[in-house]
Symmetry: C2
Subunit: 281 residues, 2 copies
């Protein structure tokens, strides 16, 4: 078995810092990784075992430790959010996962502040929360489609940072990943959905209308990334034309987030010897 | 590769019919399966691929077909419900799973009829719902601990059958599995939780109090199985001393439930050629 192709600075290589420019990121690249597709699949399988163990520890501590992990996934249509849920999140015990796919807001949701529906879906102690789309839609499609007045959109960047800081203070480690594909890659993925009858169900004619606004969305992403990538909850832009790499990269982000908790197994909240005696051992 | 050890009548062998006696079921047995542990693991892996494909079809049809699947899991503490969730349910896309673990009812839940909290957790169209414990607790611990008047407990068997028939009429295929372990096996599993610091968190001193009422619980199960195993939603008693067998058996029940839906891929709800043209192909 060859050494892992995973490099220690993979996460750092994806982090959005000062001077970041989305247009400079090559969606075909594989920053921080020196292996190929085959190596990537092997490393993903190894990482899955590790992630599973770390997640079990988080869950085991749910009555003892207020902390949780939240994965926020963003990306254009077909960027691979569902594949991350399936192939990365899917490797841990579903019992400890709280997945929420945010769709177009309902009437009730629209009647509240944009963070209302998001706040109530934050993971409780011990859980891995996953947002498939998120409050960022409100500064992405919200901005591009002018779904709110310009001042309100402006206000939201700061509101998001405050909201995330509150969640962090309450014990949630936030991992933000934008899956970055090229317009050409999206074309090919949409074309595949229109070619294969087993993929029709994933196609939505509305996707083409959003696609027509590609550059507006890239601008909206640039702004959102710039204004909400904080040191406490940095954004990571994950080149995602190669699905195998994107999965490996998001897995690595999660592995680091879980490892940062430094959790052991919780102490028993009962007298072990007494219980053994009661069991009749 | 040897032939599958899975026999076509596995599900039938577990079904609770007229004259059923729980005490006659050997928790060590492996009805309807002729393979050993190794074969079982291989068959489970094969079944996982099949189940994944069937579940994707169910999910793909969510806007076209009102149907859903609900797995109801019951069993004494340590019977392996969590393992089923992890190793059987965990093999399908978490996106299409609605898992609910029913704990001791809250004040709010107690203020309503016992089915109130259950009804709102029924899976929507396209979803696989999983109940880790369920409305059956209300005729199990409910009966053993006399948590309601005797007449109320009596009323519940019929209410459960009516409730399930309604759900079936609305399109839900219900799979009911009781994981059946022996008292000796439970002893060993509890002892393990008291031996290994990485298992302490799974131990609850309250489990010993319930264990002391083992035969009362077996009686309550016998009654519940007898009175709520209908042809539309039969109970299956799954011998569960061998975890590998229990997983295989529940997977088989799910495979049959999904296959019974006979679903293909949904037709496109758009004009495929027009969308191809719009995409620029």
């Amino acid at each position: 078995m060859r050494e892992s192709g995973r490099m220690s600075d993979l996460a750092a290589a994806l982090r959005v810092g000062p001077g970041f420019t989305l247009a400079d990121i090559d969606p075909d690249s594989t920053p921080g990784y020196r292996g190929d597709h085959d190596d990537g699949d092997k490393d993903l399988a190894k990482g899955a075992v590790e992630l599973d163990g770390l997640q079990e520890r988080l869950f085991a501590n749910k009555d003892h430790d207020p902390r949780s992990v939240l994965l926020v996934l963003q990306g254009m249509d077909t960027a691979g959010k569902g594949g991350i849920v399936r192939h990365v999140v899917g490797s841990v015990d579903v019992q400890g996962v709280r997945l929420r796919a945010f769709k177009k807001p309902t009437e009730e949701e629209l009647a509240h502040d944009f963070l209302w529906r998001v706040r109530r879906e934050l993971p409780g102690p011990g859980y891995l929360g996953v947002f498939d789309r998120s409050h960022y839609e409100d500064v992405l499609i919200g901005r591009v489609r002018e779904l709110a007045p310009a001042e309100e959109i402006e206000r939201r960047y700061g509101a998001i940072v405050d909201f995330e800081n509150e969640a962090i203070a309450a014990g949630t480690v936030i991992v933000k990943a934008m899956l970055h594909i090229s317009a050409e890659e999206q074309h090919d993925r949409l074309a595949e959905r229109l070619e294969r009858p087993d993929k029709y169900w994933k196609f939505n004619p509305g996707d083409l209308a959003e696609r027509a606004l590609w550059s507006d969305y890239q601008e909206a992403y640039q702004l959102a990334l710039e204004r909400t990538s904080t040191s406490a909850a940095p954004w990571h832009v994950v080149p995602a034309n190669r699905k195998w790499y994107a999965r490996l990269a998001v897995q690595q982000l999660l592995l680091e987030a879980f490892a940062s908790l430094g959790q052991g197994w919780p102490p028993p909240d009962f007298d072990v010897d007494e219980q053994r005696r009661l069991l009749g051992d």
